[in-house]
Every structure is written in structure tokens, then in C-alpha cells.
Amino acid sequence: MSVVLDLFTVLAVGLGVFFFLAGTVALLRFPDSLSRLHGLTKADNLGLGLVVLGLIPRAASPLAALKLIVLWALVQLGSATVAQMIGGALRRREEIE
């Protein structure tokens, strides 16, 4: 059983790291700010989510696993707000400075 869980952890974490890589590539290579923002939010979302998912089997207790999930939800909330605000400002073509 623990081998299956370990495999799950490795897979999920690996996928999560891949999404972070994808997010960085998007940030560095996409042509304009709005599309970079799009790539960034996907990385935030899925990268951390998959990492948290992969770490849940390794949590010390159900409460610890819940703490991980709450952490992810908080990051989701914050980065979604930031994405909305940046997107809105870009859309209105304001200079953010």
C-alpha cells in the first residue's frame, strides 16, 4: 500500500513541478503581459495544487492534511485576486507603477 502511495506522491509532485516549469516558460516566452498572466495563474493553481495533493498521503495526521489544503485554498484566493487586479489594470491599459 505504501508503495502505491509513494508512487502517487512522486507522480503528483512531479506533475506539480512540471506545471511550475510551464508557468515559468510562459512568463519568459509569451509575447504579451496578458498571456503571461494566463500562464502564471495556471502554474499557481495546478502546480501548488498537485504538490499539495502529492504531500497529503505523507501528512502526519488528518488535521495536518487539512492544514495543507487550507494553505492551498489561501494561495488560490490570493493569487486569483492578484490575477484579476493585474488583468483589469492591463485591460484598461494602465501603467502599473
Binding site: V70, L74, G78, T81, Q84, M85, G88, E97
Partner: protein, 313 residues
């Protein structure tokens, strides 16, 4: 080179690169963004050095609050005319040489430490049981060198007084400018409504577990401060008038209670700033609770700045 060493080198290289970027950026905004990134990576460096308390404080204050402070300062300075003569090459070279000298001395001091390096950590740990705490960092802050910590909190009050004193006389007693635009982003309002209660609970919990695990008054207070600032940025509440009684009471509560506890030391335990044995942990937590309040109030006030409107009768 092992995996760890490669990681350490890369981290150090990125941190140094960010520091260079912070100094060399053309515009203040770019410099502050680089500075916030620098603070975040420094927090991870602290974790790598097995110092989670410092890491948390760095992430909260060094990166978060200071970044916001710098950006709001640069926003205020924006309309002011540029200085007539930017610093000349000689001045810049002199500053660079002096900075390099200081950095070199610190680096040499660290690199040439004897092995094992002299440290008071074992003794701090040895006496931990007497303080009733489980976290040596908190013990150092509140028990072993409590006087210093109290004075640090007094410095915070002085900083707020200094910021307030910049206001013109006619504005004294008024409220600082709002932290956010008149029509805040709906997403921000939503964030403030949801995250503020959760963040407040987490901040209090961070302070409470600081007695036994990494955490503490400063970290908890910084998180509470950040939550209040988010709420003010979403215009759900406004910065209070600086003449308000509860505000001033909250500001001085931290160092005030600390000082009272210290003064009660001779009566209760034999000397200035001594805590009664067997009762130390409750006393420490009591003092820390007021410190959390003061920090949570001080940091947003520093960001809000001096009052810019008259106090309404």
C-alpha cells in the same frame, strides 16, 4: 558537488543577483519589486539555515510590509521634483567601496569562525525548562534579554510618532489618507472579506504556538497587521484618526505592559525584569499578547503615513 551544495550556491547567486538588481534599477517600482523577491528568497535561505522563526519574520516584515511601505513612499514622492544634482560618480564609488568593505568584513568574520563556532545556544537550551517555554527563540526574546525587546517596541512607537510628526500642524489629529482607491476592485473586496478573518485566526495561532514551536509575537502581529491593511486597501474600513484614544492605547500597550511587568519584577521575583518562577509562561504569554496588539497596530500606521486631513469636530 552534492545536491545541497548546488542548491545553496544557486540560491546565493540568485539572491545576490536580485540585490544587484535592486540597487541598479532605474525606477523605484522595479527596485521595490526586486527587493520583495529578494526578501522572499532570503526567507527561504533562513529556512535552509534551520531558522524558521527568522524566516517567518523576514517573509512578513522584510518582504511584505517593507515592500508595501517602500511602494507607498515612492507613490507619495512621485509628484515631488527630482533633486537638482544626482549623486556624482565619486560619491557612488565611495558608497560602493564602503559597502564592499563592510560586506567583506562580515563575510570574513563568518568564514573564519573557529570550528565549532562559539555559541550560546546550548546554554539557552539548558535553561529553557525554567522559563516554561519550548521555543528557545521566544525564550531569548522575552526571558533572557527581555529589556532589549521592550526597547525595540518603544522604538516602534517612536517611529510612528516620527511619521505622524511629518504632517502639517493643521492636520494633527486627523486621519491618514485611505489606503485604497475610491472604487476598489471587486476581487480585492472579496479577498479582504474572506481572508481577513482566516488570517486573523492564523495570526493569533502563530503567536500562541510561538511559546513552544517556531512562531511568536512578532510574526503573529505582522500577519494581523497585513490582514488589517488588506481590509483598509479594500476600503472596508478607513485608517483611524491619530487622535483616537483606543489607537494610542493600543500603540503603547505592548511596551507599556512589558515595562510594568519588568517593574513588578523586584516586587514579585527579586530583580528588575525577573519573572516569578513557576509562573513564567503565563506572564510571558500575557506580555506577548499585548506586544502582538501593538505590532498589529503599529505596522499599518507606518504604512498609512501622516494624517492628511483635518480632524472633524
Amino acid at each position: 558537488m552534492t545536491l545541497f551544495e548546488a542548491l545553496d550556491f544557486s540560491l546565493a547567486a540568485i539572491v545576490l543577483g536580485l540585490a544587484a538588481r535592486t540597487i541598479s534599477a532605474r525606477r523605484v517600482f522595479g527596485a521595490v519589486v526586486a527587493y520583495v523577491a529578494y526578501g522572499l528568497l532570503l526567507a527561504i535561505v533562513w529556512v535552509r539555515l534551520y531558522a524558521p522563526d527568522v524566516a517567518l519574520t523576514e517573509a512578513a516584515i522584510g518582504s511584505g510590509v517593507t515592500g508595501v511601505l517602500l511602494i507607498s513612499a515612492s507613490t507619495r514622492l512621485g509628484p515631488l521634483p527630482a533633486p537638482d544634482a544626482p549623486p556624482g560618480a565619486a560619491l557612488k564609488a565611495g558608497a560602493a567601496a564602503l559597502s564592499a568593505l563592510v560586506a567583506g568584513i562580515v563575510a570574513a568574520a563568518v568564514l573564519y569562525l573557529p570550528d565549532p563556532a562559539p555559541s550560546l545556544a546550548p546554554e539557552a537550551d539548558a535553561h529553557l525548562a525554567e522559563t516554561g517555554l519550548g521555543n528557545a527563540v521566544t525564550a531569548v526574546l522575552i526571558a533572557y534579554r527581555s529589556f532589549d525587546t521592550m526597547l525595540e517596541k518603544v522604538v516602534l512607537v517612536l517611529a510612528v510618532a516620527g511619521v505622524w510628526s511629518v504632517a502639517p500642524d493643521r492636520f494633527w489629529g486627523g486621519a491618514p489618507a485611505p489606503l485604497g482607491p475610491a472604487a476598489p476592485d471587486a476581487a480585492l473586496v472579496f479577498l479582504a472579506r474572506v481572508i481577513a478573518p482566516i488570517g486573523a485566526v492564523i495570526g493569533v495561532q502563530m503567536f500562541w504556538v510561538g511559546a513552544d514551536e517556531p512562531g511568536g509575537a512578532f510574526q503573529g502581529g505582522a500577519i494581523l497587521a497585513a490582514m488589517w491593511m488588506i481590509v483598509m486597501m479594500a476600503r472596508l474600513t478607513e485608517p483611524p484618526r491619530i487622535s483616537s484614544g483606543w489607537l494610542r492605547l493600543a500603540l503603547i500597550a505592548g511596551p507599556g505592559v512589558f515595562l510594568l511587568a519588568g517593574l513588578a519584577g523586584p516586587v514579585m521575583a527579586g530583580s528588575f525584569f525577573a519573572f516569578p518562577p513557576g509562573f513564567t509562561k503565563p506572564v510571558i504569554l500575557f506580555i506577548e499578547a499585548f506586544m502582538v496588539l501593538s505590532i498589529a497596530v503599529t505596522l499599518p500606521l507606518l504604512v498609512a503615513g501622516p494624517p492628511n486631513r483635518e480632524a472633524r469636530r
